[in-house]
């Protein structure tokens, strides 16, 4: 066989093989699950009633202990923010140590060791806003992970694989809510996962259980009888930073426009 024939035959064989191969459609496991009708029956969502929050910080404390985030490290999976609007139209906000110990002083923490005392008569309104991972429907952190170490489960929770995360920090940069950080011990990306180890066993998250006022609730939005679903569907609720298109799944009752 000369070279010309060899090349000709090669083209023929490749062409002949690729035709029938093209007839096979590549089906992903997800598509099979979808077609068999066994769709995920759960989509975890969170409901925060800001009217009920008093800023005690029990949730933050419980979260740190439950999820083994070093207690004194200045990072936390969940935190509580305090907002104070004064009569001259200014907004002050702070979250000292993520409100792990609650808000023990009326002075606003301005960072760099500075504090601002605001007279009671000078305050228009003030409230607390608990924050945690929004378990976005369109999570930018999952999109930007270069190795696929962070991923979304079928029930909507975004998890991190500590054995595979390279610690590049791209997901931390990609999250508009600032919920991600590097774990001080494992040195991998870390975030709130709605206490996935608990909720998948039918328990409440640590923060929900620790909240003495019922400001935090977790529920399944695919279950129409879930009390959380009912509130989200029938009452006026808000979400954080809608403009980023992340479709966050933490809903807030009584969200103020000044909440950052």
């Amino acid at each position: 066989m000369n070279r010309r024939d060899f090349l000709k035959n090669t083209v023929k064989v490749i062409g002949g093989l690729s035709l029938p191969l093209a007839a096979f459609k590549i089906i992903t496991p997800k598509e099979i699950f979808a077609s068999t009708g066994d769709k995920a029956k759960t989509r975890w969502v969170f409901l925060v009633d800001t009217y009920k929050c008093v800023g005690c910080g029990m949730c933050v404390k419980a979260c740190k202990l439950e999820n083994e985030i070093p207690y004194d490290a200045n990072v936390t999976r969940t935190w509580v923010e305090r907002y104070v609007m004064t009569k001259d139209g200014k907004t002050f906000a702070d979250t000292p140590k993520g409100a792990r110990d609650g808000f023990t002083t009326s002075k606003i923490d301005l960072g760099e060791g500075k504090f601002q005392d605001i007279k009671k008569d000078f305050i228009d309104k003030a409230f607390f806003v608990p924050k945690l991972c929004n378990q976005c429907e369109n999570p930018p952190c999952v999109q930007v992970c270069p190795v696929g170490a962070t991923y979304q489960t079928d029930d909507g929770i975004v998890l991190v694989d500590r054995t595979w995360c390279i610690g590049c920090g791209y997901c931390i940069m990609g999250c508009p809510y600032g919920v991600r950080f590097f774990h001080p011990v494992y040195h991998t990306a870390e975030k709130c996962n709605f206490c996935y180890h608990r909720i998948s066993k039918g328990l409440k998250t640590a923060c929900v259980q620790a909240c003495p006022f019922g400001a935090r609730q977790i529920g399944n939005i695919k279950d129409p009888n879930d009390p959380v679903t009912k509130v989200i569907l029938t009452e006026r609720v808000g979400i954080l930073k809608e403009e980023y298109g992340t479709k966050p799944q933490v809903y807030y009752v009584g969200l103020d426009r000044e909440v950052k």
Partner: protein
């Protein structure tokens, strides 16, 4: 201590988990890849577009680009919390991420530069290997040299006129393909930043283009600088030659070549600088004009907190001053050295102002973070993400260049003498 806490100072309302996570090494990453891409584009100007005046510079720039190539991924590796897992990016690439394609883009580019170098130096390899092969009783060092160059020829010993013509054609094709790939390598570094929708300063489609332009500027500047230094060393060496007549002649000759090459290259440097600055200003004006939600905090950072870094160090010292220096008639070598140093500094400050500036404000838009570069290291973290970590990355390509230049001689001695 939490990663990032040691060099971050928070002011006003900042979310509790926010720190400057991307520090000096991430400033170095686009700076170094920019130098790689820029050096390559400079060398391609001769090979593809046949700009004859750049011939001497082209060969030099290509070898230097190769040396820089090895240093380019080092900043990322050093900045990883788990450097040993860096290989995961190639093993399980998650292609929705901009960083995931790094391995592919980088190795494609590396392959192009390596093969172009091979075609360019093939004749040299054969010329070294053949006499050594024929030589009887080789010494150990000659044996090693023979094995090295024999391997480098890849078994091709044909250096006939026709074969060399084919080589030239291959070089032209590779250089042509290399330009878009080099631009992609760096534009893609810009995309890593430009696509972060959470960051108000980074998110702009102009980012990749701005990065490419400033990359070419910095690449040309570094090539000019290294070229001048190498030429000065050659001048010094030739002045130590034995006969006074020889000394005078060759020294003047070298100087003549040097000034010509430098003036020519400086022209291209200015063209690309104009592009780069126009795009950067366009971005700034557009942000101010559209004034979306984030503009309040951006304005306070750009015109307030980072004013010195942006307008005095980057635009003033790094762009305007060298621009004037190059445009004044009668460009001398000394003025060029000052100019290119300032240009390099300006591009570095641009990277700094993007990376650090992008983290100078909180995601809450109601607070600020200040970066304190660790200078004296007291642990591994403060070394690698501190001044000395950055300096070692910067010095690396020069050391590599010294070694690589031993295999790929950058000056054709026959031609210049």
């Amino acid at each position: 201590m939490v990663h990032g806490e040691i060099w971050t100072v928070k002011e006003l309302f900042v979310y509790p988990n926010e720190y400057i996570y991307w520090s000096i090494q991430i400033v170095m990453y686009p700076f170094m890849t920019g130098l790689v891409a820029g050096a390559f584009v400079l060398s391609s100007l001769y090979h593809v577009f046949g700009i004859k005046q750049l011939k001497e510079m082209a060969r030099f720039a290509l070898v230097f680009s190769f040396a820089l190539l090895f240093a380019a991924p080092m900043p990322i590796v050093l900045h990883l919390q788990h450097p040993l897992r860096g290989i995961n990016v190639i093993m399980t690439s998650h292609f929705t991420s901009a960083i995931a394609a790094f391995g592919i883009v980088f190795f494609t580019y590396g392959a192009i530069v390596a093969s172009e170098l091979w075609f360019l130096y093939r004749k040299h390899f054969v010329e070294v290997a053949v006499p050594l092969r024929d030589k009887q009783d080789k010494t150990l060092s000659e044996w090693l040299k023979f094995i090295l160059f024999c391997t480098l020829t890849l078994g091709v010993y044909d250096v006939s006129e026709e074969a060399l013509k084919r080589d030239e054609k291959a070089i032209r094709v590779l250089a042509g393909v290399g330009i878009p790939v080099a631009c992609f390598l760096h534009g893609y570094a810009g995309f890593i930043f430009g696509s972060v929708k959470a960051n108000a300063l980074w998110m702009t489609p102009l980012m990749p283009v701005i990065f490419i332009m400033s990359a070419i500027v910095s690449g040309i500047a570094l090539c000019m600088l290294t070229y001048i230094v190498t030429m000065e060393i050659r001048k010094f060496l030739s002045s130590r030659k034995t006969t006074p007549a020889q000394r005078f002649q060759s020294k003047e000759e070298i100087k003549g070549v040097e000034v010509n090459v430098i003036r020519m290259t400086a022209k291209y440097l200015i063209y690309f600088m104009v592009f780069a600055i126009s795009l950067e200003l366009l971005d700034l004006i557009f942000r101010g004009y559209t004034a979306v939600k984030s503009w309040d905090v951006l304005r306070s950072v750009i015109y307030g907190k980072d004013f010195t870094d942006i307008f005095i160090l980057q635009y003033g010292l790094g762009n305007l001053l060298p621009f004037v220096l190059f445009l004044l008639p009668g460009l001398t070598i000394r003025r060029t050295i000052l100019g290119v140093l300032l240009v390099l500094f300006g591009v570095f400050m641009m990277r700094w102002n993007v990376v650090i500036g992008g983290q100078a404000f909180s995601l809450s838009f109601a607070g600020y973070m200040h970066y304190k570069l660790p200078i004296i290291p007291h642990d591994w973290d403060t070394f690698k993400e501190g001044l000395f970590g950055a300096l070692s990355i910067f010095v690396m390509p020069f050391i590599l260049f010294w070694f690589i230049a031993k295999i790929f001689p950058i000056f054709e001695l026959k031609e210049t003498h």
